[in-house]
């Protein structure tokens, strides 16, 4: 049987969800027979090609995040999101309590360790959105694995369900927001 092709991306996040995926430990060996990871921060390939399953960690925070999310969505049959940031906005969405200007000023100018700071303004750089959004406000999402980060157990459950041909919804006992 052909391996299921998977591409992953991390957007506005801490990469903790990908670490949790690696926490599958020996279960990864079993998975390796069934899946092939193509474009991913783990393989360090950057360009998406068509895959069966797309996985996104992190929220949509800037123009780059949106572009990557749309690109992956266009290249995958099923899109799964990992972690509170991708599912709900999560910890990165705390900046929504402030305006974009306040956030940039605080980060690039007012931080205690900064001397003569400057807010970067190159056209080559992604533009920060006024508000951080969960992934489903930008592209259609098929399944969600919340958690900060989701446990390896939750990720394993979701991937195993998908390999069995079912769209996973985490059972209450496994679901965590922290």
């Amino acid at each position: 049987m052909a391996k299921v092709k998977i591409a992953t991306a991390w957007l506005d996040c801490c990469s903790g969800c990908h670490m949790s995926f690696l926490d599958l430990d020996e279960a990864l060996i079993g998975l390796a027979d069934a899946i092939e990871i193509t474009t991913s921060p783990i393989t360090d390939f950057k360009e998406f090609s068509p895959v069966d399953l797309g996985i996104i960690e992190g929220a949509i925070s800037n123009t780059h995040d949106e572009e990557v999310a749309k690109d992956l969505r266009a290249n995958c049959k099923i899109l799964m999101v990992w972690g509170d940031c991708a599912c709900f906005g999560g910890i990165v969405a705390m900046r929504n309590l402030f305006t974009k200007e306040e956030v940039l000023r605080r980060y690039y100018i007012e931080t205690e360790s900064t001397i003569e700071g400057k807010i970067p303004s190159s056209e080559d750089l992604p533009q920060l959105f006024e508000q951080v959004k969960p992934v489903n406000q930008v592209v259609k999402v098929d399944c969600y694995v919340p958690g900060c980060p989701p446990s390896a157990k939750a990720i394993h459950y979701a991937v195993a369900e998908l390999l069995e041909g079912r769209i996973p919804v985490l059972p209450s006992e496994i679901m965590r927001f922290d």
């Binding site: 509170d84 599912c87 709900f88 906005g89 999560g90 910890i91 969405a93 705390m94 929504n96 309590l97 508000q131 969960p134 489903n136 406000q137 999402v141 399944c143 969600y144 694995v145 919340p146 900060c148 919804v169 985490l170 059972p171 209450s172 679901m175 965590r176 927001f177 922290d178």
Partner: protein
Amino acid sequence: MKEITLTINDKQVKGKEGDTILEICQANGIDVPTLCHLDGLSDVGACRMCVVEIEGERKPVPSCTYPARDGLVVKTNTEQLEKYRRQILELLFTERNHFCMFCEQSGDCELQKLAYRYQMDNVRYPYTFPSLPVDSLSDYLVIEHNRCVLCGRCIRVCSEIAATYTLDFGGRGWGTTVVADLEQPVSESTCTSCGACVQACPTGAIFSKLSLYRGIPSDCQQITTVCPVCGVGCELNVLVKDNNIVSIEAPELTGLKGPLCKQGRFELLRETRPRITSPLVRGKKGELEEGTWDKAAEVIAESVRGLKDSFAGIVSPRMPNETLSLFHKFIREVVGSDLIDTMDGENYRVTSEGIRQFQDNGKGLDIECLIEEIIEADCILVAGADPEKTNPIIGNLVRRAVSQRGAKLIVIHPSRNVFPLWTDLWLKPREGSEGDLLNGLAKNLIDTGLAVPQKAGTKLIESLSQCDTGEVGRATGIDEESLKLAAKMYGQAERGVIIYGEGLMQSNNPSLITSLLNLADLAGNQAGDRLRVISLKTSANSRGGWELGLAARGITRNGLKGLYLLLSDDQADEELLDWLRGIDFLVVQASYQSPATSIADVVLPSPIWAEREGKYVNMDGSALQLKQVLQPPEGILQDQEILIQLSKKLGHELSPS
């Protein structure tokens, strides 16, 4: 109440007329999710989690506020209802800023549990990200509006149970928030910091600073013990993890002693005094030096031997009965002295003598009524007492009676209105004229025909003959009208309760207590064979100590050469300290460093309240079990063990029984 039958989820169930649908579901084991409901509080239907379908109703209704009727057909678990509930949860999450990953309540949050139950793995609505303040100025609790679901449980517990009426909703619609008074920081409001709202809050919106990130209940062992502070004797649920107290909660938040108070819920966890962990002996240079138990016992034995009647023992009324008895035995049998007292023994001697002069039938403190009479009272007279300070739950019961049941409140205090927001009449007798006032009130009852005729014996009438209103006015400085009004309010009450405290007890004048009892008796304020009178006991085992006879005689200070103060985690007041300074040889058994230990010749470490067990007798005379919740630090012996070891040094076998 008429029995009714209704059909819930195709099953016939029974309930009583007046029950809500939710009550009937809960009584019949039918699970209905709730969030704004809390057993014992009124229901308001704020959250809509408990919606049910009722045949004939156009739309789902909240079961917590819907009165059940005979023959209703109810569904609690249809697919449509489950969809609504998940939708409500999603809306709740978008309304405020909920970030479980660093919330101290995560793992013990009703909102989070519901979201798991409804498998809420995404939210279909845009978040609102409101900008909300955090009130963290209080020493005890934080109000984190970002996590508030506006269920109103804090507000209802604050009014219905804590009876402080501090919290309420402020603003309208989207702008609604929980506010203290007129939007003050809670630390500057009328809040008494009882912490009932902390326990009632289903999320992390109101939390205790003293329990922050210490652990969640599922990781803790829960031990029910008794509060070691005042004589009310509230039960405490102590949550313990790794030999640390995580939090203290009320076993029954909406019960009689439900709210607990600042002392019991918070202050016990705010201890900052340095702990004493090994015996200290005053050395040759006059400094306290660390020594072994053996050395300390040796020094004590040497100094105590032969002192007999010039050696005294004083013990904290926070000690359980077992320790009190053994200490008594130690002083009597091992030292050979009769000089023993509790730190609040003086209160007892005044009270008991006052009772004896009123009625010498040996009933003693059992002449007083139980504290539950306060909440049933229609008039409360608080004389020379400040319950809000000394026994906060008594203050709470007074406020509940006054604010919820229309009881009248009269305060007798020379300088302070101790219930400024609730008092109907404040009588300010000149210092020392309380007796004239009480007798004046009694005389007034007789003169106005409000006294029970058979109680007004000729002897009493004779003794009150000189208490005419003019005389009383001159002595007390209280005008005739106020006196008459007070007499009328108290005399006309069906269930008038008198609460008195140290203001009267420390007058060294038992006749004040007698006058007060006469007044209650004249007005016919009896509950069974007790009088509706309560004396405030300020320590957890005041009554235990008194009943065991430790406070019977008191101590004469003349010729005293040595003294043993079993202080433990209690505090010695200035008066006692002054006295202790004149003692040649002072032993202090204490948990913490304090002025008392600094003047001692030998200091023995003592366990704190959480490290010991034993029996307490509360104000009502009920025996309560203090349970050990923590292991004491290494090297600290139980108080009784210390006494047994000391006795051995002095050649005595002291047995606890």
